[in-house]
Amino acid sequence: MAGAGGGGCPAGGNDLQWCFSQVKGAIDEDVAEADIISTVEFNYSGDLLATGDKGGRVVIFQREQENKSHPHSRGEYNVYSTFQSHEPEFDYLKSLEIEEKINKIRWLPQQNAAHFLLSTNDKTIKLWKISERDKRAEGYNLKDEDGRLRDPFRITALRVPILKPMDLMVEASPRRIFANAHTYHINSISVNSDHETYLSADDLRINLWHLEITDRSFNIVDIKPANMEELTEVITAAEFHPHQCNVFVYSSSKGTIRLCDMRSSALCDRHSKFFEEPEDPSSRSFFSEIISSISDVKFSHSGRYMMTRDYLSVKVWDLNMENRPVETHQVHEYLRSKLCSLYENDCIFDKFECCWNGPDSAIMTGSYNNFFRMFDRNTRRDVTLEASRENSKPRASLKPRRVCPGGKRKKDEISVDSLDFNKKILHTAWHPTDNIIAVAATNNLYIFQDKVN
């Protein structure tokens, strides 16, 4: 489905022509496990783009100022800062290794010259401060410019050190470490609109933190049963409402979403709203529950809607309607007849994320074979695009891809059996205001932009 490519279109998903902009990461066929990108997130302005990987590292890219002599070429993202956020740990009590993989990064709104973000692995959340240093002191008395100590007896005169400009240096320092609050694996963090608190969610519990306080957190949701043998449902994702600081949602492995109001009680085990779509009995199979498990939940920027991702579809919910979603978009329905094989090779447990564009008019999510899908909510059109090195010429337009579900394969279509299920796009991010998207394909980060005529 080729985009219309016209200028002046609203920021929809596929009235635009998406073009390759940049790709970051090694070209090797041999992918190092530690380099696999595990989270991607733009900051509030979109000038910074952070990625976390399985090796516990965070890489932040900064958008360059637009070039005045080439007004049509958008700013490129270049490396701004790289740091090791989490290290592998060993839990001695349980004799378990704690992975350093960064599960989520969330930016804080910028309040001064420095940037702050939260990064988390399975057990520990850290608040990082990223600040610039572009001056340094020169003219020390006790040491040379090279740093060598001067012999005090040789000093005949004193001088006052002065500040001189230097090459920009970006430093990342851990300002808070929020540890020991989660027995199970953290799957989500979400900064509250009050900019003072945030939540962290693991499989069975959700905790509320104050950004300044690291030795205490409040448990606000606990679904752990008294007898673990009775456990049939876990928390899969959680997020604060973008505007109402007392409201948050969490999704479950049974395909339900609960909206909770922290004003109603201290422990939000009783939801205010319960969102669940009744099951379609005609499509029920042994895999129905697994594929209904929600892997991601995201509020729209407006706060009126939320979007959930399950294995085969993306659903948009109106917060005022609990009994069914207002929109359902099929991501890769052709996989429905392959669920058994996907269960066998564990792909059925892959957790795909989803994201909104700035105006909430389009949504995006990933698939297999390095494909990702965009849905325009206004025009009801969708498109499948591919993140691959073959389409990596600068400003090359992305050609829409088509998957042939079965039978006769047309030219340019790819058959389901040829899909590479090791190339999965789990993490994508959309710039908060512009049509720039970041797509993580294993160890590579692709940045695409719309073509500006």
Partner: protein, 230 residues
């Protein structure tokens, strides 16, 4: 699923297309596969809790389906005498709803159904799991919880293996996911489980005709024994 560009070969070279495996065989296959996945979960240090819960729920559903079959005394589904199930091919039959499949159950080829000795199961003391084996007149008074009992046994055993972790089955562990995949797809590296029990489970989807029921029960029992002893 398949390496890029690799085409699936046809199951055999005969002129007639190979018949898809029967519903009950595939369901059995799925059940065995799920048990293997659960079992492997607990061999790793810290399994993914969400995944474990989803697999355990699937096992319970399969168990209920098996029990329902037993209660309804379905006619012998064909398939035990069919071609070997060497691997779990793209089984869209399982991905369809059960009543679709039962509509297609009126198989004309029950002529090849296995020997009636499969029906002698009720007396077998070690029989744990209800199986709707071909031609088996399944007593309604067989304890319905037979399979549930063994599932619970597995869960309890695993809990006792990690006494510090009160959570037992779903103790928080943090394991390398890819190892599990390697084990499952390659069927290698079954460290703690004696080889023949593991492999027997894995190949349970392709039983020789006529002995599937007894053999599967024996294997499940074997697995439970292993887990109890560890």
């Amino acid at each position: 699923m398949f390496a890029r560009g690799l085409k699936r070969k046809s199951a055999d070279g005969e002129d007639s297309p190979p018949a898809p495996p029967s519903y009950s065989l595939q369901r059995q296959s799925l059940l065995d596969m799920s048990l293997v996945k659960l079992q492997l979960c607990h061999m790793l240090v810290e399994p993914n809790l969400c995944r474990s819960v989803l697999i355990a729920n699937t096992v319970r559903q399969l168990q209920e389906d098996l029990s329902l079959d037993a209660a309804w005394r379905l006619p012998a589904p064909p398939g035990a005498g069919r071609g070997p199930l060497e691997r779990l091919v793209s089984t869209d039959i399982l991905c369809r709803s059960p009543w679709e499949q039962q509509g297609g159950h009126s198989a004309p080829d029950s002529g090849g159904s296995p020997a009636p000795d499969l029906c002698e199961l009720p007396g077998a003391p070690s029989a744990q799991a209800p199986r709707s084996a071909p031609g088996c007149a399944w007593e309604a008074d067989r304890p319905r919880g037979g399979f549930q009992a063994s599932l619970d046994q597995i869960l309890e055993t695993l809990e006792s293996r990690a006494p510090r972790a009160a959570e037992g089955l779903f103790a928080d562990v943090d394991g390398p996911y890819y190892d599990l995949d390697a084990v499952l797809t390659g069927m290698v590296g079954a460290k703690a489980v004696p080889g023949d029990g593991f492999e027997a489970l894995a190949s349970a989807g392709a039983p020789p005709p006529g002995s599937s029921c007894k053999r599967d029960l024996g294997e499940l029992d074997h697995v439970v024994e292993i887990l109890v002893e560890t």
